[in-house]
């Protein structure tokens, strides 16, 4: 942080101090200035891991991180001695906010049967910031997610959004990636062959490029018809410009290589999602600089495209120099992302890479400059853990999202508290914790 800016911040904090009581309880939320003091801080940035460090938060951002950082006057102080401090975690493939009850169609918005919408389908427009999934997951340290559409009528699912799980508008980028299904699922959507899915995708990209060059002629009906609709062609423009990556769901080694070829020919950015057999082609992926989003727990030959699935996938990719990010593979329990990371580490992935796969790496994949590390100036997504965050017995004690302390309450904690002690004089319905 530049010193002059620091001074301005301190002045602002001093002004704030008068209004803000210093008291603080775990269930209480709120913004303002905070100092998390004495923890082991994993910055994921150049400063690495700092023992006995202080993290100062205000104005929604991280103001300072380090051992000799003073607690600004008026800042609420959190004693983090013996605790572990990390950035909030990011699930790189989710439907949080776009689903409430998986089996209830009326609560599912991550897919459309409308065949006219391909790339133009933007799941961001359906996201509900009041979803019960958000508090359930954020009180356990999940603060960000890529909310992805699912392919139904063709291999192109639509555009995924990045969201935060704090207050206010959750969408940070409504079009962070174009999601496509290749491999078996793509084959099913494209009419029965994985080759058909690749051809349809290539056709859409080529049409989008032609449209970009000849838009005026097309408007005058002086250009050949395109396979995608006008809305789809517009939505594809940032993809062919290389601004937005294609997130391709693909598992089999040969499908991964086919996706690499397509990306090279079409000059588009590629992120591979799933990648059960990615470790078989790790060298090719590393050479192409293409990252993989994977579920570390996917180790069964669940289909004929994942015969080589292994718990060592992440470790082998990382060792080969492939950037790896994690997904929990589910929305309601995105909070279990870190259990997957722990298992990846138990099967050979370096611990720091396990944490990075839920923080710094997804920030880079999905174009979030303001998140992913604990460095001054970044969004203050900060979690105070009561131990190793990759350990299954560890819990988040405090969670900040963009500088706001999250109330440590969810529908689940309220139900627990209602039924914690049975046998009171009145039915549980009168107990409103």
């Amino acid at each position: 942080m530049r010193p002059r800016r620091a001074l301005r911040v301190l002045a602002a904090l001093a002004a704030l101090a008068a209004a803000v009581p210093a008291a603080d309880s775990a269930a209480q939320g709120g913004s303002g200035a905070w100092a998390i003091v004495g923890g082991t801080v994993h910055t994921l940035g150049p400063a690495g891991t700092i023992e006995n460090a202080t993290v100062v938060i205000s104005g929604g951002r991280i103001q300072a991180v380090g051992r000799d950082v003073a607690v600004p006057p008026g800042a609420r102080e959190i004693d983090a001695r013996g605790k572990v401090v990390t950035p909030g975690l990011f699930d790189s493939m989710s439907a949080i906010g776009a689903v409430e009850i998986s089996l209830e169609e009326s609560t599912r918005d991550f897919a459309t049967e409308q065949p006219r919408l391909g790339a133009a389908f933007r799941v961001a427009d359906a996201i509900n910031p009041r979803s019960t999934l958000i508090p359930v997951n954020r009180i356990e340290g999940l603060t960000r997610a890529l909310v992805a559409p699912r392919a139904t009528t063709g291999p192109i699912a639509g555009r995924a959004a990045t969201i935060h799980l704090g207050g206010g508008d959750p969408v940070t980028d409504p079009a962070a990636a174009l999601v496509v299904a290749l491999g078996e699922e793509g084959a099913e959507r494209a009419g029965g062959s994985r080759a058909a899915a690749l051809a349809l995708l290539a056709e859409a990209l080529e049409d989008a490029r032609d449209y970009a060059r000849h838009r005026a002629a097309w408007e005058r009906a002086e250009r050949r018809p395109y396979a995608p609709s006008r809305l789809d062609l517009e939505a594809l423009q940032p993809v062919i410009a290389g601004e937005v990556p294609i997130a391709a769901q693909v598992e089999r080694a040969s499908d991964l290589l086919a996706a690499l070829r397509l990306a090279r020919e079409q000059k588009v950015r590629l992120v591979l999602v799933g990648g059960a057999e990615a470790h078989l082609v790790a060298r090719e992926l590393a050479a192409a600089g293409v990252p993989v989003v994977l579920d570390p727990l996917a180790n069964l030959p669940e289909s004929f495209e994942s015969l080589a699935a292994t718990l060592e996938n992440a470790a082998r990719l990382d060792a080969a120099g492939v950037a790896v990010a994690f997904t929990s593979g589910e929305s309601h329990n995105g909070r279990n992302l870190r259990q997957g990371a722990g298992n990846a580490v138990a099967h050979g992935l370096p611990w720091e890479a396990g944490l990075a796969a839920m923080t710094r790496v997804p920030a880079r994949l999905w174009g979030l400059d303001s998140y992913g590390t604990l460095e001054p100036g970044k969004d203050a997504d900060v979690v105070v853990w009561d131990g190793d965050p990759l350990e299954v017995t560890t819990a988040a004690e405090r969670v900040f999202i963009r500088g706001e302390a999250v109330p440590m309450v969810s529908r689940q904690t309220l139900l627990r508290d209602r039924y914690r002690d049975l046998g009171g004089p009145l039915p549980p319905a009168y107990d409103k914790p």
Binding site: S102, E185, A298, T393, P428
Partner: protein
């Protein structure tokens, strides 16, 4: 209810699911049509793998009886636990394993698995877990669907699972018999069947049966339709039983069914009725898939009305709301650590469910219902334990290990044989690289009946199914 990013599985298909032999250890080869043979026509042919005398030295031992022993020795002889105490002397010829810094537990038991009936790969050709053609399918037996070459079995073994209960799915009100298996490789399902384990019956409450049949405009289409379906089935079974008993008193051939169900075959056997009568006779243990509190309470009364008992509620996402009732009725709850929200009846899931059932004095079980989850039952128990402790329920590791060992053994009627490290019990044992309640712990070695059946560092003790043998080019095998 989850799958990897491949399926973006939040749009899941909620097929959940939930038997064994009544007689004791079966006679070996030839099976004469002895009296009672129809109760055990597919007897276990399981034989323990080769074993010797083993002394595991200096481990932290969770016995499964609620006790933790530090620096203790476990002696295995003749396939049985011979002793668990400090400072045991190694018998002549014993293999001595230095387990200082390591932990030892009973073999883990999954009371709710679909391995073998819904195996990997998960394709239509292998989908053998739900006979969803009529809501009362008491005639079917899960063991007749089990594929012993399911790659899920050796993976579960690597997670320390030594026994599992494979169940039919939950599409039906009465889904059929479950089967209790030893997690050992075998060419036949009979070679995996747990000798002497009682048969079980899978039944299901709630959304699944009413959804499956309701959308075919068939009964049941409502929860009240579900309950009517169980009641009528057991009323029919009671009549079948009366006819059978009358026929037996009249001197007809022993055990033959007497028919008597409307439209039944006079004097002939009815497979479905035989299973339900087995429940009424108390020989077959009822395993009831049920999520919601009020439904579990109705089922308890329904079972009482019909003259049988429920052994365990499976999934039981709302068990914490009636933990006192479950404890009073002595019915086990087999639960997930944290699954919720995949359907409405799972909307009220809480992390403390298992610990709250345990704290009320009930029989709490961590189950998987998942080919992935079964590999990490210890981690699931760890999450549930930690949640309970944060809620002030004071669960120790020595207690929590019972959720995946002694309690599931009780729920499937094999507690006399396995589930604890007590002298005389089968030596189903796991040596863990460290605290099994840590994500970083590995099952280093697994014993079934005293035989080493898995070793993490010895490829010779890592079974591979036929399915996976040579399916990848040489050099690419896992």
């Amino acid at each position: 209810m989850t799958s990897g990013p491949r399926g973006l599985a939040w749009a899941l298909a909620a097929l959940l699911a939930s038997g064994c032999a009544t007689a004791g250890a079966p006679p070996a080869a030839d099976r004469p049509a002895a009296p009672g043979a129809e109760k055990n026509p597919y007897p276990s042919t399981y034989r323990p793998l080769p074993s010797g005398t083993t002394l595991i030295r200096g481990a932290t031992v969770l016995t499964g009886t609620g006790t933790q022993l530090d620096g203790a020795d476990v002696l295995i002889q003749d396939g049985r636990i011979a002793a668990v105490e400090e400072g045991l002397a190694a018998p002549e010829g014993a293999e001595v394993i230095d387990a200082a810094g390591r932990w030892v537990t009973p073999g883990l038991i999954d009371v709710h698995s679909h391995l073998g009936v819904y195996p990997s790969p998960s394709i239509s050709a292998t989908s053998d877990g739900n006979e969803a053609t009529s809501p009362v399918a008491s005639r079917v037996w899960a063991e007749h669907s089990v594929w012993p070459q399911d790659p899920g079995f050796p993976r579960a073994l690597a997670g320390g699972v030594t026994a599992l209960h494979a169940l039919p799915g939950s599409a039906n009100l009465i889904g059929g018999r479950g089967v209790t298996l030893k997690n050992v490789p075998s060419r036949t399902v009979q070679g995996m069947k747990f000798p002497g384990a009682p048969y079980t019956l899978k039944m299901a409450c709630g959304e699944n049966p009413k959804r499956v049949y309701g959308r075919r405009n068939q009964a049941p289409s409502t929860r009240m339709g579900n309950v009517a379906g169980y009641r009528q089935a057991f009323l029919d079974a009671a009549e079948y039983k009366r006819n059978r008993d009358r026929a037996e008193r009249g001197g007809e051939s022993g055990g033959r069914g007497g028919g008597g169900r409307a439209g039944g075959r006079e004097g002939g056997r009815d497979l479905g009725m035989e299973t339900l009568v087995g429940v009424l006779d108390g020989e077959i243990l009822v395993q009831m898939h049920c999520y919601r509190a009020e439904e579990m309470a109705v089922i308890l009364d329904m079972a009482r009305e019909m003259g049988f008992g429920v052994t365990a509620f499976h999934h039981a996402v709302e068990a914490y709301k009636i933990a006192d009732l479950l404890a009073k009725e002595d019915v086990c709850g087999a639960m997930w650590a944290d699954w919720w929200g995949f359907k409405l009846e799972a909307f009220d899931g809480v992390r403390e469910n298992i610990a709250l059932v345990d704290a009320a004095g009930g029989c709490a079980i961590v189950h998987s219902d998942s080919e992935r989850g079964i590999q990490r039952l210890n981690q699931e128990a760890a999450k549930a334990m930690a949640a309970g402790n944060r809620a002030g329920l004071y669960v120790t590791r020595a207690e929590a290990i019972r959720w995946v060992t002694a309690n599931p053994a009780k729920a499937i009627g094999i507690a006399g044989e396995t589930g604890t490290l007590e002298p005389g019990k089968a030596a189903d044992v796991v040596i863990w690289s460290g605290d099994p309640f840590s994500v970083y712990a590995h099952a280093d070695r697994v014993y079934v009946d005293g035989a080493p059946v898995y070793d993490r560092t010895d490829a010779a003790l890592q079974p591979v199914t036929d399915f996976e043998l040579g399916i990848l080019p040489a050099g690419e095998e896992e």
